[in-house]
Symmetry: D2
Subunit: 145 residues, 4 copies
């Protein structure tokens, strides 16, 4: 199994606030960017999943902010699968800066699977190969937060 | 015909950037807020229009920034219809601060009407009463920009 | 002590995503809107606090999404103080829709106090009246999440 | 003089709206992303300019939307200098999708130069090498819009 690379993201000026650092809400968006990149690297691009009529909404999201990130920096986000069942999974995120590898934030998101009528479905039945992927990559560690 | 009131909007912290003022992209979002408020006051709430299978996408948007707006301020946005035809219309916006009535920005957006298949439609035929409203409120002045 | 009113917020079109619901990251922004409104009602407007050289950054943020919110709705957010010390405090949020009072989401944010040099400070010493307010309003309940 | 490469940008899920396309306000943010990338490629990274106490605020911004951009696409943005004086300059932008090179949008932004006290300054005097760069890259064509 090929190793999935961390997601690299250049901080944008419009992501800063008047405290001269990245506004905290943007980390939740960065987790989504990292998640989409992770799925794409795993050969399960999200647009392909939605094209099959499967939605993966966010049930929970959280972030711990350790050190502010500033404009001009590039962050490196490591994503890992921390829990999986046939109807739910959880991802953990670690946000480093690319230059010094300082840990700036950690976070997690929990997800379920919905069909086009927005009713829950078992991913084990609908996309067994994706379920298999998640199982194999699950770190079996406790959540980051 | 009842006069339409300006839209009041409290500036949010997350709308500021590291220059300690509101990021310029947010004015385009404020124009949308003002537009939706205008349509609602006019008794044509946008969700009602979309519920009839009519979309009103933005064809053009522009803004002239005169004086920065800061967190803690409340802006007052005046919206007016500046051009109307059966397939297109243009709105103009003036952004004041509520406290001192200083003009902070002006802008405009141009729109057309699309059906559910995203093909253009004549609003004069599909929603004659909305077309009539736009005609009556059209300032017949040149665009703000 | 006067009761603090819930924060009312009209959902914006630009807050939706292609799942036709409000994007999950915006709830974190709504918590900020509700927090600023809470502080203002409490007679401690955030811009006044920053003007004294005190910043209140977010250390942690989390949200549990129960039921999607859609464009056209108005949400009603209840904010409460759930933990207080001289150097930290935590707020809890409940997001209802105004029309049916359905609970759509719950969340929390944790904060500390920093001086202009970004070093931690004791709010009990620097703004004893604000500390007093937080203490008196602390629900002494466990965090919402 | 080395040729400056177009800016590539992957469309994010959080940039879409309930019309299932990228929300129009995000193009103004993309112009900023392309502008920052342009300055960096030109060896005048914006954080370096601000570090010298020079701000380059946006005076005007506009966009013409020709064809919607969707999640899953990568856009390619071409930036060019369209007007320059010692106190102002204008940039033009063309947004293509990387896959088919369809033109999705065009736009422009106008800028001035401010010192730390937010008073206008002559970039010809303060940063003659940057002024020289802008002059040499100015397309001497009329604005895109």
């Amino acid at each position: 199994m090929e190793k999935i690379k961390p997601y690299l993201k250049k901080v944008q000026y419009y992501e800063t606030d008047m405290m001269s650092v990245v506004h905290h809400s943007n980390y939740i968006r960065w987790f989504e960017e990292a998640r989409m990149d992770y799925l794409e690297q795993a050969q399960f691009p999200y647009q392909g999943i939605e094209a099959q009529g499967i939605f993966i909404p966010v049930l929970e999201a959280s972030c711990k902010y350790r050190q502010a990130v500033r404009f001009g920096e590039t962050v490196q986000i490591e994503t890992e699968v921390t829990r999986v069942s046939s109807v739910r999974f959880t991802l953990g995120y670690r946000v480093y800066d690319k230059a010094h590898k300082t840990l700036h934030a950690t976070g997690s998101t929990a997800h379920c699977f919905l069909g086009q009528d927005f009713s829950p479905l078992s991913i084990q039945r609908r996309m067994p190969e994706f379920y298999q992927f998640l199982r194999e990559h699950c770190q079996k560690t406790k959540d980051l937060q």
